[in-house]
Symmetry: C2
Subunit: 355 residues, 2 copies
């Protein structure tokens, strides 16, 4: 295992002392970067890019060359697991992900097999190994997966959805069937994240992008319960190192206390909850990651700097904060605005970490 030259991100997640607040950005390897768009074009399709370890490695590293980031995140898609389950993932221009064979019947769920990640998701673990070889310990590498609930929404709806009518109709009418699907997905996600850990990622993050669409009781039973089961299966102890795990539920501000009881080392916050409130509610148990509104990056660099300062001050003194957006960066944001955010974290955060 290569020793990390910059482990500020890992220490913040473990609430150990740091000299400044670490910063990275959801979707930092992505369309807002012209160098990404060039590789994406070269790859032909988004799936070609995801499944080609060399290209995935290249775009993973791109933002690190431009910005003073404290972590890299594996370039991949949250829907690789359902694809490995045989649903046929593809992307329709301007409409997002689609499955050729969505889950439509009871039999579809019964016959679904939990994929062996080494076998059917080897392109991901290959990418992890390649990225770590290239990174040479510059910064930690984050692995990730979609949460079982979030994966299930795409699998049952057949793609993106505004209201999740099919999967929620299943939730109301056939809850036992949805649980069967989520059971399999939890096992698949745990195996997938463990394969990423084995291949060398330094931290993992579970994206529950659509958990916020649920009522509180349904969130607990159909999303959070499975996120917890995954955490319990994670091999977070690797020798004397700990692989920190982050749980992110967009729209989950009401549920931070419950999320903090699951074992995850850190919670991702969207921009709705003030980070001071979140820290008061759960900061004794977990680190917090966030939480600038991604839309704030459309504003001027001066406004961005001032918003960064506010969030740092809002969290206040001490470790346990990883600066990030509250959701992924938008594809038409100017890279200079991203730079303004990152530099502001470097400039303003040391005062919150006195020796």
């Amino acid at each position: 295992m290569i020793t990390l030259k910059n482990d500020c991100f890992i220490r913040a997640l473990l609430r150990q002392p740091v000299e400044r607040t670490p910063v990275w950005m959801m979707r930092q390897a992505g369309r807002y970067l012209p160098e990404y768009r060039r590789v994406r074009e070269q790859a032909g399709s988004f799936m070609n890019l995801c499944t080609n370890p060399e290209l995935a490695c290249e775009v993973t590293l791109q933002p690190l060359d431009r910005f003073r980031l404290d972590a890299a995140i594996l370039f991949s898609d949250i829907l690789t697991i359902p694809d490995a389950m045989g649903l046929g993932l593809h992307f329709v221009e301007g409409e997002g992900p689609r499955f050729s064979r969505p889950i439509q019947t009871e039999a579809d769920i019964r016959t679904l097999a939990v994929p062996d990640p080494e076998e059917s998701l080897g392109y991901v673990t290959d990418a992890v190994r390649l990225i770590q070889r290239e990174l040479q310990g510059r910064v930690p590498l984050i692995g990730f997966s979609g949460s079982p609930w979030t994966l299930a929404t795409y699998m049952v709806e057949g793609g993106s959805s505004k209201d999740f009518r099919k999967v929620k109709a299943m939730l109301y009418d056939r809850p036992e069937l949805l649980h069967e699907l989520l059971d399999k997905l939890a096992d698949a996600v745990a195996a997938y994240l463990n394969a990423q850990i084995k291949a060398g990622v330094n931290a993992v993050m579970l994206f529950d992008t659509w958990g916020g669409s649920l009522s509180t009781g349904h969130y607990r039973d159909f999303s959070l319960a499975y996120s917890k089961r995954i955490f319990d299966q994670l091999r977070i102890k690797q020798g004397d190192r700990t692989i920190p795990a982050i749980l992110f539920t967009k729209g989950g501000g009401l549920w931070l206390e419950a999320m903090a009881e699951t074992g995850y080392h850190a919670l991702g916050l969207d921009w709705q909850t003030p980070i001071a409130d979140a820290r008061r509610r759960v900061g004794g148990k977990v680190a917090l990651q966030g939480n600038l509104d991604p839309v704030a990056l459309y504003a001027s660099p001066e406004s961005i700097r001032s918003e960064v300062k506010k969030i740092l001050a809002d969290f206040g003194q001490g470790s346990g904060h990883v600066f990030n957006l509250g959701h992924g960066v938008h594809p038409d944001i100017q890279p200079e605005h991203v730079g303004a955010m990152i530099e502001a974290v470097h400039e303003f955060s040391p005062e919150f970490h006195p020796l």
Copy 2:
């Protein structure tokens, strides 16, 4: 003033004793009803339907003939005020509302005039008077408006938006300019709701559909402050009657305590917050309206009945609950499923209101 034959809805909003929980449904006059679609076709365009008092009256009453509802809601659009301000509202098939002349410059805001509702929104007050004549006190009539923040999002973006990038860029870069716009909108909304009250509505509701897109501090300063200012201007005392006012912020579950301090008699709840939690947090100050997930109406009538029962039991004994969805009914819901929801409220709610 005609005496109401059924004032269960008004009493529940004022937290006075009722025999059963009243029920109505956001967008109950709408596309899911074949009789609505016939009138809509006859009108030619959605705006023709909104601006024709006879047709607006007809579709307002339609759901009352089908279902045992405890309130009617004026058929109109939340964007009538910006239209009266000269922005040129029209609807693009499948894409929702658009403005021909969106707010783009400082001068656009400076020259914006607060419309006199009697003059430029007479089609709305005419519809109110006509509906009340037809209703003959069967049930109360609800008037409504969009909130200043929600109206501002459409006016600055030029229509619907997923991320509100233009109006939020204004919020970050030119907050004083956005406040100027919201100032004018608050005055316009207050005058509009007062005109509806004068024309005879029995209750009013403020729809802050997009308040949930804001961070907590921005919600307080750019949305809630203006909703409160409107309440302070409402003529809620009409002789010895009170016109109850309802404040609804979709995605506002974190902010119920602050919302309950504004003076509104009731808060609308989306489906994320359990109504028992909401009651515990603010039920001593306000009534609560909600909160079945509109997507639950895709499930079977048996599931719908069971979900209705759960929400009624979750609120528990006593007055102060108006049953509703957590957002508007979807256009492709079967009317029979709506009927199952409404009948379940009639069947199960009396036990929560013992004499």
